[in-house]
Amino acid sequence: MTKPTLAVHKFSSCDGCQLALLNLGEPLLELTGLIDILHFAEAGPLDESAQVDIALIEGSVSTSHDIDRLNRIRNNSTYLVTIGACATSGGIQALRNMANTDEWIADIYANPSVIDSLDNSTPIKQHVNVDLELWGCPITQHQILTAVRSLLFGVLPVDEHDKVCMECKRQQHVCVMVTKSEPCMGPVTRTGCGALCPAIGRDCYGCFGPSENPNTHALANRLQGFGLTNNEIARRFLFINSGSEQFHQEGSRWKT
């Protein structure tokens, strides 16, 4: 019997989510016993146009030729899975969507005409159908293994979209917002990281994106109560996942 196949594709990103695979250690070798990895440029195998059962996509769409490449990948794959904030919401580089990119380019590069860069950094789902989204900056090893395992069984994994607060409470951490007035994003942020930030005594900064039903406006009002300026409140939402609808809306409301 032939093994199921997998490809890892990279768009605009920091490569950190691919490390969820490369940092697996021994389980990486086990994984290659279950599936054939046909394309994973960072790890060696190269066959970008291979037909695969699962295509993992890291990074956002940010240049003119990305869209064609993405369409080809979609046509070649049964399941298309976005891994990480860039692929899922446009990533930190989506901050440019609210700026004048031409001015930025001219500021950095002496020869702007050679730069191929779209004005916006957009998530994969804006261009092709996505079967599964893994949120997180970066995603965790647990997320990727659960996803691949579930897909091998022919089902989608359970979408964990609780708030970070739920996980934080389960771990019995002292609330940094209540006790230290930290501008914690936990009440509106998707779980999955393991409540890492409050566990070490700092505020969550929303790197896993919006949770289910995030009450962003109530949180923003609370942050105002802590004395944050309007722009400081805006920047809480307009950070790693500024391209997500809920964070974008709330951030834009406060940005002056």
């Binding site: 605009s12 940092n23 060696g44």
Partner: protein, 581 residues
């Protein structure tokens, strides 16, 4: 003397973090053009830092590179602390070194085992290599895991750690957390020594070159976070003086901002560090180095893999020292008082010096940021090295060997493409044509695949048809036809081409080249590369490129469409086309 042109185009360079590509043109046994192209699109970190609060900076710059986030966080915090006049406690100084040990261990182990060693041992990937070198791969994964866990100790995770603040760390780990790590670090020291000896015995190429090494240097320690910038050519400056000696330039039609020292390429990274700072390594590390075939300082770039292994051993020895003396503190973070000003930070990322400069206003917001990553500093050196080492290797070598050697040379620098904040995505239309045999139909469903020869029986335009005839004779294609593959002859492109293509998902078009427009006898082009620059193929009134552009505008292109232009029906070309299936 006949002119021979070899063009090598490596579309995606495997096992370079991020994705790059190399163009090489050889004419008359001389390199006439050599460019390392980088696919990482600009992400504008320096621009979107503007206007953000200083306390957002560590979490922002970590995202520049998933492989060396610690380096970005350390250069940034030191730069900002210098503006605010923060005095770092001995505890913090020590623990930031420990934190950095983790990143070197992780990054160097990843590079050696997953990216570089497969090259030297002749495997395509670590997955293949692990079948024969299972113990070595497992040893590498173990060292990498210790590195990740050292970063996690302070950062709560190894990629984009969350524990770093301007002023220090969010928390101090407990002894319950540090003790088991100390044990693992101590146990792994022998693994690192074995790793060094293993690499020393590999028989790396002998390729001495003339280059300048640049690194931080500190009176009391092997450099991580502090020191002066020195070179083996007499440079000795404070980091704040960087911009007076090093210049970043956006080279015309180039792929990246190149950074030059007094106008010349230079080397940063593990080999440069060891060349300049071996005297600062602990005695037990220097003892191991004395017993090696490979001696430092070295001007052979292939020794950088051994330099990395030595730094792995150093990181373990240093981590053992720091963990043995570890005591938790109740002040893991210094107090910070906001002040306006300009500050500089330079630390030794795994790949070499990472220089930051920030201008901060009175509210503590960033008004300007400049980030010079190691890979943009090494890029001119890589190109220079490629020119020298490929000549040394022999420009008359077969293309596949030249390509592999070039990739090995590039990998010596461990270029981290995504961490080069300035790397550009240069538009790739060179005459609309590049020799590019990366296309493959090996996974295509044959019943949905067609090879279409364009031409006519007339002389001068018969090549497309001739090739179809020749391919039809091949045993492989006889079999493929039985499985549903279609071979077609078409007398002209235009609308007819659209009709011919429409039943198929995968299409390969073969057409004659206009000899006056190209010096290359065989080209393979993906449809989307072809459309922007029509006019290179055949002399049909409505040429293949126009037809494809038309189909594209009607959204009628198949999932996979490639065009091969041939100037001849040579056996070599027949083999090339056969190998695509």
């Amino acid at each position: 003397m006949p002119t021979e042109t070899i063009k090598i185009n490596v579309p995606v360079l495997a096992r370079v973090e991020g994705e790059g590509a190399l163009d090489l043109t050889i004419e008359n046994n001389q390199i006439t053009d050599l460019k390392l192209r980088i696919y990482e699109p600009p992400r504008y970190f320096e621009k979107f830092l503007e206007g953000r609060n200083y306390y957002d900076v560590p979490d922002t710059v970590a995202r520049i590179c998933g492989i060396c986030p610690v380096a970005y966080q350390m250069s940034a915090t030191h730069a900002l602390e210098s503006i605010f006049g923060v005095e770092i406690s001995p505890w913090l100084h020590a623990m930031r070194r420990l934190f950095y040990c983790g990143e070197w261990l992780q990054s160097h182990s990843l590079h050696i085992h997953l990216l570089a060693a497969p090259d030297f041992l002749g495997f395509n990937s670590v997955i293949e290599m692990s079948a024969k070198y299972g113990d070595e791969v497992r040893r590498g994964l173990k060292l990498q895991a210790i590195g990740n866990d050292l970063v996690t100790l302070f950062g709560a995770r190894s990629v984009h750690p969350v524990g770093v603040k301007v002023g220090g760390f969010s928390h101090a780990p407990s002894l319950e957390e540090t003790s088991p790590l100390l044990q693992r670090v101590t146990d792994a020291k022998q693994d690192a020594v074995d790793l060094i000896h293993w690499l020393d015995s590999l028989g790396l190429p002998d390729d001495k070159q003339d280059f300048v090494s640049v690194a931080l240097q500190h009176d009391d320690e092997y450099p991580f976070n502090e020191g002066r910038l020195v070179s083996d050519n007499g440079l000795d400056i404070p980091i704040s003086d960087f911009e007076n000696h090093f210049k970043e330039m956006h080279v015309e039609q180039s792929t990246a901002l190149h950074c030059l020292l007094d106008g010349k390429p230079y080397l940063v990274g593990p080999l440069a560090r060891i060349n300049l700072n071996a005297a600062q390594l602990p005695t037990e590390v220097r003892q191991v180095m004395r017993g090696l075939k490979t001696q430092f300082p070295s001007n052979n770039m292939f020794h950088s893999i051994i330099a990395r292994a030595i730094e792995i051993y150093f990181a373990l020895v240093e981590a053992e020292r720091l963990l043995s003396n570890y005591e938790p503190t109740d002040q893991p973070c210094m107090d910070v008082t906001i002040k306006a000003g300009t500050g500089y930070g330079c630390t030794e990322a795994p790949r070499g010096i990472l220089w930051h400069r920030y201008d901060v206003d009175a509210d503590g917001c960033i008004s300007k940021a400049v980030i010079v990553p190691p890979t943009s500093q090494n890029q001119p050196r890589i190109e220079q090295d490629l020119k020298d080492s490929l000549i040394h290797f022999g420009l008359d070598q077969p293309k596949a060997d030249l390509q592999l050697h070039a990739e090995k040379v590039i990998r010596n620098y461990d270029p981290c493409i995504s961490c080069a904040t300035h790397f550009l995505d240069l538009k790739l239309v060179r005459d609309g044509i590049s020799e590019n045999t990366s296309t493959t139909f090996s996974h295509a469903d044959l019943s949905a695949t067609a090879i279409i020869g364009i031409g006519s029986p007339n002389s001068g335009d018969e090549l497309g048809w001739q090739m179809i005839d020749r391919l039809s004779e091949k045993e492989k294609f006889v079999q493929h036809k039985q499985q549903g593959l279609t071979l077609l002859k078409l007398d002209r492109p235009g609308i007819a081409l659209g009709e011919a293509i429409s039943p198929y998902e995968h299409v390969l078009i073969i057409d004659a080249l206009k000899p006056e427009e190209t010096s290359q006898p065989f080209v393979c082009i993906h449809a989307e590369q072809l459309t922007p620059a029509p006019g290179n193929l055949s002399s049909h009134a409505t040429g293949v490129p126009e037809s494809i552009a038309l189909l594209a505008s009607l959204d009628q292109l198949p999932a996979q469409l490639a065009v091969i232009g041939i100037a001849d029906c040579k056996d070599e070309f027949i083999e090339k086309i056969t190998s695509l299936f």
